[in-house]
Symmetry: C2
Subunit: 484 residues, 2 copies
């Protein structure tokens, strides 16, 4: 029987859509790592009634564990601890030791900000040190402590150092965590280690599943649906695997969870995917294209100690800096990213990337020759071993019949000067086109670093080359794109 949890995220600013919830997704991944099944995540505002109702809904689903985030601050309207205590049927008590520890944290703040009202500060500290009776305290990361609150039936058992095999239905263990991700994340890690028998019992009963990720680029999601049917027809026992596929930034992610004894089934499934999608499957170990490009530039994957890291430089137009920002995202990127030039104006294309003004006049800024010149300029002018050029029409204005919004040219020149040049026609609004073009560029860089080259100059247009680097993006059916 699987161990099942629910997450309650509190905060009017999250519910209203103004602030993106980062805690639900993060906790979901943590639970999956512990082999705990997640039934649902519910986002509610700061109203006590709504928080209590969410707890009751979770309880009615016979969950073993509920995690809450938010509502632990020092002010009177932060009520999560009190609501959870009432729900678990226990009172609130002041923990004197905890009060002193919070005071020690708040003290420096008080010195730096003499305007703070000392009485309000004291009341806040006392409020945060008043905890559900019988709960295990999770020490503050900011000023707010968290709690593991055992289900009411278990409390006696815990005092006697015994742990029930399973909580009674309708009485989950509740872990109360603060709202700021910077506080919640270390506190959850501490909670997993904490001497909280109710939580330890839940974790101990969970069976850890394996999770593996395949990533593909350049095919519609429906192709994967067909591959699943093929695998089934070939006798792969897919019912033993929990497979989810989704389209994310133009890439297809196939995530499979399975019990350890189904490893052979997974391998058989992965073989079918590999055979059918050899040219579009780019990751079988969960690595992202960003990580792969970084490793290829460093020479660490495949390992190649015979050479120093390759450097890279970018001359991008319509993506406006997004490719360089993504390349410089990983720590240590300064070892291989030399420079990026956002050549938004024609003047900048000429002066920064050394594009021949005549090319722009003859073919227009969004054209194959200018794109190649940008890549070459990135290599020679900006001084990377690898040079990348991007020019396109992100919209909403600037499109024409011959060069519609969404048309993007991309070119990557390798250390030998040769490389790959492609054009794609990307769907969506301005932000979509910029984001998608950045992903296509990373895949093109990856392929050049793996040694692919266009057959010869002038052959790199639409439809040449295998895989199509996202050119089939336009083909969508009702399921092709899920929310991202």
């Amino acid at each position: 029987m699987s161990v099942c949890a629910g997450i309650i995220v509190t905060g009017t600013e999250v519910l209203s859509g103004r602030v993106r919830d980062r805690n639900g997704p993060w906790l979901a991944e943590q639970l999956a790592g512990l082999g705990i099944d997640l039934a649902c995540t519910t986002i509610v505002g700061d109203r006590p009634d709504d928080i209590e109702r969410a707890l009751r809904c979770m309880a009615s689903q016979d969950l073993d564990l509920v995690l809450t985030s938010g509502g632990l601050g020092p002010t009177a309207d932060d009520l999560t601890a009190e609501i959870v205590a009432r729900f678990q049927g226990c009172g609130m008590v002041l923990d004197k030791g905890l009060e002193e520890r919070i005071q020690a944290i708040v003290e420096p703040l008080r010195e730096r900000m003499p305007n703070l009202d000392p009485q309000a500060l004291e009341l806040g500290t006392r409020k945060q040190a008043t905890i559900p009776e019988g709960a295990t305290v999770l020490e503050p990361v900011g000023t707010a402590p968290g709690f593991v609150v055992p289900p009411v039936e278990e409390r006696g058992a815990i005092v006697g150092k015994m742990v029930l095999e399973r909580a009674l239905p309708g009485h989950p263990t509740v872990v109360v965590l603060p709202g700021p991700p910077r506080e919640l994340q270390p506190m959850w890690r501490a909670a997993v280690q904490a001497p909280a028998p109710a939580l330890q019992a839940v974790i101990a009963r969970a069976s850890v599943f394996e999770q593996r990720t395949l990533r593909l680029f350049g095919i519609p999601e429906s192709e994967i649906a067909q591959t699943l049917r093929d695998a089934q027809n070939q006798g792969v026992a897919l019912e033993r695997l929990e497979i989810t596929t989704c389209l994310k930034r133009g890439e297809i992610e196939v995530v499979t969870r399975y019990p350890p004894d189904a490893a052979g089934v997974y391998e058989a499934f992965a073989r079918v995917v590999r055979a059918r999608h050899e040219d579009t499957l780019f990751s079988t170990d969960g690595t992202t294209v960003d990580e792969q490009v970084a490793a290829l530039l460093r020479g660490s994957h495949p390992p190649d100690e015979s050479r120093p890291p390759l450097t890279i430089a970018v001359a991008e137009s319509c993506t406006g800096g997004e490719l360089t920002a993504r390349l410089t995202g990983p720590a240590g990127a300064s070892e291989y990213v030399v420079a990026g030039a956002v050549v938004y104006s024609n003047e900048a294309k000429v002066s920064l990337a050394g594009v021949d003004r005549g090319l722009i006049e003859r073919y227009g800024a969004v054209s194959e020759p200018v794109c190649r010149a940008l890549a070459e300029g990135a290599r020679t002018r900006l001084g990377g071993d690898v040079g990348v050029g991007i020019t396109g029409i992100a919209g909403p204005g600037g499109g024409s019949e011959r060069k519609p919004v969404g048309l993007v040219w991309l070119s990557v020149a390798g250390p030998d000067g040769a490389g790959l040049t492609r054009s794609v026609h990307l769907p969506g609004g301005r932000a979509d086109v910029r984001d998608r073009a950045t992903t296509v560029a990373l895949h093109l860089i990856r392929r050049v670093l793996l040694g692919e080259r266009d057959a010869g100059p002038g052959l790199g247009g639409v439809g040449t080359g295998r895989g199509g680097a996202g050119t089939r993006e336009g083909l969508r059916n009702g399921r092709a794109e899920k929310s991202e």
Copy 2:
């Protein structure tokens, strides 16, 4: 009595945290615009039981309206329509006309992808055209239709062209929408206009609230809490306003909702905020700093037709392209963004931004003189009226005691060559430092465009200037940062 709704987002890839939910937040804003109160958003996987349980939980809260997203695809595991029908107590019927309309949509796909199995396609179409009895069909945007499914008690009334004043408790109207945001958004807009009496009745009963947003930069959230207390003490009837404050990318957002007859109360509250935070309140009309910078560069706000748009160029190091990407985000940015240079290496600082090599050797790449030289180089070398320079240590490596991770220098030179230079010490990881520094830069640009200038060269270091442009970032209490 307020009209209350719930949102159910379905999708294992969303629940697991692998794909970010964009539908919940978007629908939340749409409901707010209609004056409909949102009680909660629940995310569940694709398991029918979980979806049904979520519906039951919503019903137990006596909601008037439930919106669902996802699970409307052509395959057998897309079950939302069926589950909602069962929940509302109605059967499923094939809509022949709808089947033909879906066929017409699928036909071109079939031609482009001859590999598709025609029988599977036909079954899928039939499945998607099989709808809850009595539901109003929302025409497909992709291939999937949506539905407005009236509550069971209302169905008779609707047939007779009558609409109950209020649905019976526990029987909400359910609007069933597809998962891809690109399909969901137009379909929801169509639903609001659709001849679906059950939905129209809900909308008609809602009373539209006003919503106003104030934005501040450079103070901790606790200061706003104090302002609320002050306003209350001054007799402003805050209980008539629904105020939420949150810290988002280093800025404080104060969102207030109120019934139209409380407009005077809001004005009184806004006056108190203005008086107490004159130097950090930068937006009273909801505009973001990105929008303000764009408007100032265009000369459209404040209106100044006497001059052409000002242009801007950026030489950024530790932010790796993020500032240029943010400046080029809005449509039409090509009118004023000339170029950006990501001068990650010292070599690039010299060759692209014209920084004197001696300055780097003497003061180091992360220093006030090099930062000023970057801004000046952006102006003169890259050719913007306004030049921006950023250099700092994003981490995790590269910090020292004198120059720790998080130290960032920022300089903006205005059209006259003078401007503002600041250093900040930003908390958090690499991504946080990059993101926060970008926001600080936008505020510095805004202030220069509004005419602020440092008193003289060499005076622009830490602690000078008012507001501190985020320098107080380090001061955090338990509530200061909410999830974002």
